[in-house]
Subunit: 334 residues, 2 copies
């Protein structure tokens, strides 16, 4: 397959390498000339048969592409969509940004208004790292990682979705079907709110030098992501504000109940039942994969699978079925 | 030195092993016969010269002791103090529990009421792990870890404090001087509140199976300590309720400001200045040790050192000076 990757940071660079290693013809572009030079040098050092081309314009990258992977930060997505519209690209487009409803909206405003022929399936590989940039790119980054591909029953062409799912599963990722709204709600809780908690904790502790000296494992892990660039975290959380608000409210509501337990006459006894469900939930995570099963390749069945915490590991060549995995639901203890 | 260790869990067992390895005569006791048997078997397998004795009663353990290390959970501390009072122990006593004001109060009520001769210096090695029990004990657990030794100017005998500090620094730990109040306030922020945040996040995410499947690094780290036993976390946070309340309030107040930023017309722009100080704080952590310096072994100088985030690495043989380290204060960026 001919694939163009636009944006060669950690995710784009890793996709470029993984696709090249899987035998695809890959064309990479980055707006930064220095990144292009780094990626070009790396291509020359890659094993024969796993090389990619680095090209100087978006037009060059997409000229022969059947698939365009947009791997730029959210604020740069509109420009790339405009460029795709301008060059009259008519193939499949996906992206890797961490919010999906805003990107879907941008696609409708920018790409589909000018170019009804191009089709779009939003994506999000859950493969962040503290490291960033092409030099951190790793073709094995997606092995075993969850990679959401968005499916809106009346909007997404199922054949496009299945083609992309076949490609992404071939890179070793678990493809998770979800609507953009479902995706944005889930990542608000498991990815965006954790960044807010980490920042609040880090800044509170900084008021007391003794606290910084006594801080150990629970502080280190609880604040790790607070070291992320504020610019990127603000774009991520603020770009998903509609979903982050209720997710943060749910956590705050839970913490208010802990606060009330601390005010109780017997705080130890009052905290115990508040703590137990969180312990049970964390002990049951990550979900244990059940046995693979065959599912019909239909939008409703795929979305039900995603809502149940499941994913697919392969798409049949005839595109009629998928190999699906549902997590084993653990029996509540006691 | 002859040392009795009462309670042979992770911390007590590690102290037992570390003290034996450092050449001290160590007597271990645990209320659980199975733990005593495990510790006895391990002693036989330890290198000659680094063995300990396991004895069947507290009385046997403290018979020859110059120092008693109480390494039982907070709820079991009163019983141990009563036993020490009953056997008429008159040496130095320390503990390793994670709250210090309540223990100080128990010592006054239980030990000093009956036995004015025994002296007490509260301690807390910041060396928690997810693993627990004697089988997880490790003589190197304290290497480089912060170990608070409490110092109340008009209550603590400075010579006792310095003797204990000399012993603890000889195990490779950084001794941090603090009053019980200062200690409890600091650990509320860096250890107890993180457990509450982790539990609230874990239980909120559990409501959505899709979220569990998409959860990756930020969720894994942000919830790690939620898997701790609710019983222990409730005892830890509830036992320090007076200090946890204002620490949790400070974090909640910060999160309310993030919530307001999410409601702003431009949430990305509004979140950026909220996130920046947390990033700066986390990037500056852990504190970088400055050059060692000599300080007079006086309570006021030691407590000032602790408040500035410093620690001591050695006590002079004549007990007149200590080797101290202050963290390097980084210049704010920009």
């Amino acid at each position: 397959m001919n694939v163009a990757v636009i944006g060669l940071g950690l995710i784009g660079g890793s996709a470029l390498r993984a696709l090249a290693l899987a035998g695809h013809a890959v064309y990479g572009y980055d707006a930064d000339p220095a990144t292009r030079a780094t990626a070009r040098t790396a291509a020359a050092q890659a094993p024969a048969g796993a090389r990619w081309q680095v090209v100087p314009t978006v037009r060059d990258a997409v000229a022969r592409a059947e698939l365009v992977v947009i791997a730029v930060p959210l604020p740069a997505v509109p420009t790339v969509l405009d460029e795709l519209a301008n060059v009259g690209y008519t193939g499949l487009v996906t992206d890797v940004t961490s919010v999906k409803t805003p990107v879907q909206l941008l696609v409708e405003q920018r790409l589909h208004r000018h170019n009804r022929l191009a089709s779009f399936v939003g994506g999000h590989p859950m493969a962040g790292r503290e490291t960033s940039g092409f030099t951190a790119a790793d073709p094995a980054l997606f092995t075993g990682c969850a990679w959401v591909l968005c499916l809106e029953p009346r909007v997404t062409a199922l054949t496009d979705w299945l083609d992309l799912a076949a490609l992404v599963t071939s890179l070793g990722a678990r493809v998770v079907p979800a609507t953009p709204t479902e995706h944005d709600r889930a990542v608000a809780t498991v990815s965006h709110v954790p960044h807010l908690l980490a920042a609040a904790l880090a800044v509170t502790a900084a008021a007391d030098p003794l606290a910084g000296t006594l801080a150990a494992g629970s502080f280190r892990d609880g604040t790790r992501v607070a070291a992320s660039q504020p610019e990127l975290v603000a774009a991520m959380c603020g770009g998903n504000a509609a979903a982050v608000r209720p997710a943060l409210d749910a956590v705050l509501e839970s913490l208010q109940r802990a606060r009330a337990a601390l005010d109780a006459g017997e705080p130890i006894a009052a905290l115990r039942p508040w703590l137990a469900p969180g312990c049970a939930a964390r002990t049951a995570w990550p979900p244990v994969p059940g046995n693979p099963l065959e599912l019909p390749a239909r939008a409703d069945a795929l979305l039900r699978l995603g809502r149940a915490g499941g994913w697919i590991t392969a798409v049949a060549d005839d595109r009629r079925t998928v190999t699906a995995v549902r997590p084993v639901v653990s029996e509540p203890a006691g």
